[in-house]
């Protein structure tokens, strides 16, 4: 598992749709998430688990991060899902409806048991936790710190707004949850991932939401249709002006280092550490944004 990697887009793929599973790798999403939970009818659970297991074993998804959303561990299905997908070598297990740190710890124990049984080095399988309730949001910090396997925490908005007794609108209803999850993730040094935008045909609305969550500081967002990937990546692509500034900052740092000076400045302003960090992050992002297209074909 790679704890740190680019996760601008995580594409949902129903686990019972072979056509979509076979094509999941071609759309340029940073992560692909096969769903065994809500998009699969209860009568299809076994078939979907088998299909996703076979897909992970046989299909070549290149360098993509492969995530599988398992069923609720309390339902009995979740354990069966883990038995299959951990053995198939999934990169990240997405735990749905995480209300507390105990949920994560319980899941981790099961993963470890299966890793040992299958002869997979313990710790290979990553985890992410989806927070979908008021309780979960209030426990976000504990959840984010609950396991070394966690690569990130995500907001699942549909269940969350129901729990809040509201509906999704312009995003104001999600502001608290987004800020909680973001701060919890940052406090634990892991990624913060935003929820889906379900109106596939409203590209403008999608771009507005993506712009908002990027401003807040999220690392990325779940998408439910390949058509949302390009606009999302464009939102995350730094502007040429920002890039120029970042390059100038890095040049000034290099210049200062060459002169043996510990203090660098640009246009008369001292460059402090967070500025350098931001510039580095931006340049790294620009590099992948420009080169990732087609790398998986």
């Amino acid at each position: 598992m790679e704890r740190k990697r680019l996760r601008r887009s995580m594409m949902f793929v129903p686990g019972n749709n072979p056509g979509m599973i076979k094509d999941a790798g071609i759309y340029g999403a940073d992560s692909v998430m096969f769903d065994l939970e809500d998009s699969v009818a209860i009568t299809e659970k076994d078939a979907a688990r088998f299909l996703v297991f076979q897909a992970l074993k046989t299909l070549d998804f290149g360098k993509k991060e492969i995530v599988v959303r398992i069923n609720d561990l309390n339902s009995g299905l979740g354990i069966q899902d883990l038995e299959a997908i951990v053995r198939a070598g999934v990169h990240v297990v997405r735990l749905p409806k995480t209300d507390s740190a105990e949920d994560v710890v319980f899941c981790e124990k099961e993963i470890e048991r299966i890793e040992r049984a299958a002869g997979i080095p313990v710790g290979t399988t990553g985890m992410m936790a989806a927070i979908e309730s008021a309780n979960g949001v209030l426990n976000a910090k504990e959840i984010a710190h609950s396991s070394d396997r966690l690569i990130g925490i995500a907001l699942g908005a549909e269940d969350y707004v129901t729990d809040l007794k509201t509906t999704r609108s312009d995003g104001v209803e999600l502001l608290f949850a987004r800020c909680m999850i973001l701060n919890a993730a940052r406090s634990a040094g892991i990624d913060a991932l935003d929820t889906v935008y379900s109106d596939v045909n409203n590209e403008q609305g999608f771009i507005e939401e993506a712009t908002l969550i990027k401003k807040l500081g999220f690392d990325g967002k779940s998408v439910i249709n390949p058509r949302q990937i390009d606009p999302l990546h464009k939102v995350f692509m730094p502007s040429e002006k920002d890039l120029e500034k970042a390059r100038a900052i890095m040049a000034a740092i290099a210049d200062a280092n060459a002169k043996g000076s510990g203090v660098a400045s640009l246009n008369g302003k001292m460059i402090d550490k967070p500025v350098v960090l931001r510039a580095q992050r931006m340049l790294a992002l620009a590099e992948v944004s420009q080169t990732d297209e087609g790398e998986e074909v």
């Binding site: 071609i26 299909l59 045909n201 074909v297």
Partner: protein, 513 residues
């Protein structure tokens, strides 16, 4: 005044001057109004049967039809039904194409009315039956350009052409639409009917819309027409055309389209003043949309768009991106309507479009985007037979445009269901690989080895490339390798290349266990 008759014989070299003897005076002067004459002295005959009788059609002759009414066509069924009723036998049916609606021909073949079929394509029950051995004489498949050339050159001789027209005047000036009033049926261009009208011995126009002389503009001039039959039953508007070709939202088609547009852009053939042709398939249509974006961003102008025309091309013309439209076939109502209002939207015939006998419009194409059912490792293309070996497609202008255009881009999903699109050898060669330059799939792009110039440019643009074999292996890694189709020895179809040479055959499928 000289008495011309008395000196006629003494004119030097009179036998060598092309003339018809001495002037003998004129006929009686016409007296009535032209409106009266239009009503009485014209080419309108009272019934289809009468037109057939007067045409001099005999057993064993060749009749022809166009396919501008697509799956709404009733002309073929109406005419052949009447011919059967009148007792004709052993006819050759040379249509520009046939579709699912023509299943009644099966009975006419069984009863000996139709002995031989020439067409660009076959679909539906008729195609299934032919693939199972319905006919003794193999069906001859020709491309649109190849058919035009064969008619021009006399290789295909048409005795009587029966051409449906959504508007026609009493003298036979016929068109696919009317600037006065469409009577519910409109098909836009009549491009594939025009060689038939020009070269057939006799031409019968069937129309549901008899308009006043002169029907202007016309696709077929009255000088090419012998009889006009008024019937309200030439076709079903619903099957002929839909309002506008819908833009695909299928993410895989969009991905392929984006890649195809990137390939065209990188190849250098997208420059100010370029020319293009786009198919009507989802991915080709979407390619036009990406090309449009690139044109706007870079301030490029397209000199002309060719071929089957869609509303997408029309809107690019109307927003000033495309100077001229050359329309051999209108794919949707938006395209048909545009012919009425846009003076630089020009209707062209099949020969002008793609005949190999002269420098036809396809030879002026910078690029064409084409679809494919199967592509093999030699880049040969099949658009005619399905993965079960049954005929279910049409050659159309595929080989004509691939050969004519400087850059031919073939788009296809790498796999369809559980069937790979890239195979060792195609079922049926329609377009030879030597005319195919780039293959674009959802999982990778391959450039023909004879086009290192294109390959270099695509690499320079950072477009990842594969060999065609790598794509084939990738397809097989996903869906496996299907069992080969089993055929019998018997040949049921002959595929002609655009220059009227035989390029492949279609065999009867073997369903015996």
């Amino acid at each position: 005044m000289t008495d011309i008759k008395s000196i006629y014989a003494s004119i030097p070299h009179i036998d060598e001057i092309s003339q018809h003897g001495a002037f003998e005076g004129t006929k009686d002067k016409r007296m009535g109004t032209f409106v009266e004459r239009s009503a009485t002295q014209n080419k309108v005959v009272e019934s289809l049967e009468e037109a057939i009788r007067r045409s001099g059609l005999k057993d064993g002759m060749t009749i022809s039809f166009h396919h501008h009414f697509r799956n709404g066509d009733n002309v073929v069924n109406l005419v052949v039904g009447k011919l059967a009723e009148m007792g004709f036998r052993n006819l050759t049916l040379a249509a520009s194409s046939l579709s699912g609606v023509h299943a009644p021909l099966i009975e006419h073949v069984r009863n000996g009315v139709v002995a031989h079929i020439e067409t660009s394509g076959l679909r539906g029950e008729l195609a299934e039956q032919i693939s199972r051995g319905l006919m003794d004489f193999p069906v001859v498949f020709r491309s649109h350009g190849g058919r035009g050339a064969a008619i021009e050159s006399g290789d295909v001789h048409i005795d009587v052409a029966f051409l449906g027209a959504p508007s026609c005047d009493p003298y036979g000036n016929a068109n696919g639409y009317s600037r006065d009033e469409d009577q519910s049926i409109s098909c836009g261009s009549l491009g594939y009917a025009r060689p038939d009208a020009k070269y057939a011995d006799k031409v019968v126009i069937l129309t549901n819309n008899l308009v006043k002389f002169p029907n202007s503009p016309y696709a077929i001039p009255s000088s090419n027409v012998d009889y006009v039959v008024l019937t309200d039953n030439i076709g079903d508007p619903k099957g002929i055309m839909s309002g506008a070709t819908r833009f695909t939202t299928n993410p895989k088609e969009l991905l392929i389209a984006k890649s195809a547009a990137d390939v065209i852009h990188a190849s250098g053939y997208l420059y100010d003043g370029f020319s293009m042709q786009m198919g009507s398939g989802g991915a080709s249509l979407a390619t036009a949309r990406y090309i449009r974006q690139m044109m706007i961003e870079e301030g490029l102008q397209c000199r002309f768009a060719l071929g089957g025309i869609t509303g997408q091309i029309v809107s690019m013309h109307e927003e000033g991106l495309i100077d001229r439209i050359l329309d051999v076939q209108s794919f949707d109502l938006d395209a048909a309507e545009s012919l009425k209002r846009n003076r630089f939207h020009q209707q062209i015939d099949a020969c002008y479009y793609a005949s190999y006998l002269h420098d036809s419009a396809v030879n002026q194409l910078d690029f064409v985007v084409l679809s494919a059912l199967e592509i093999d490792v030699e880049f040969n293309i099949n658009v005619l037979t399905g993965s079960d070996g049954v005929i279910r497609g049409a050659i159309g202008g595929h080989p004509d445009t691939a050969d004519g255009a400087s850059l031919s881009v073939v788009v296809a999903p790498l796999t369809r269901g559980r069937i790979p699109s890239i195979v060792e050898k195609v079922n049926t060669i329609v377009t030879p690989g030597s005319t195919v330059d780039v293959v674009v799939t959802d999982q990778g792009i391959a450039v023909h080895p004879d086009r290192p110039d294109v390959e270099v440019k695509l690499r320079e643009a950072g477009i990842p490339l594969f060999t065609i074999r790598e794509l084939k292996e990738r397809a097989e890694a996903i869906v496996g390798k299907p069992d080969p189709i089993r055929y019998k020895e018997r040949i049921v179809g002959v595929v002609m290349y655009r220059n009227n040479t035989v390029i492949d055959v279609v065999r009867q499928i073997d369903e015996d266990r």
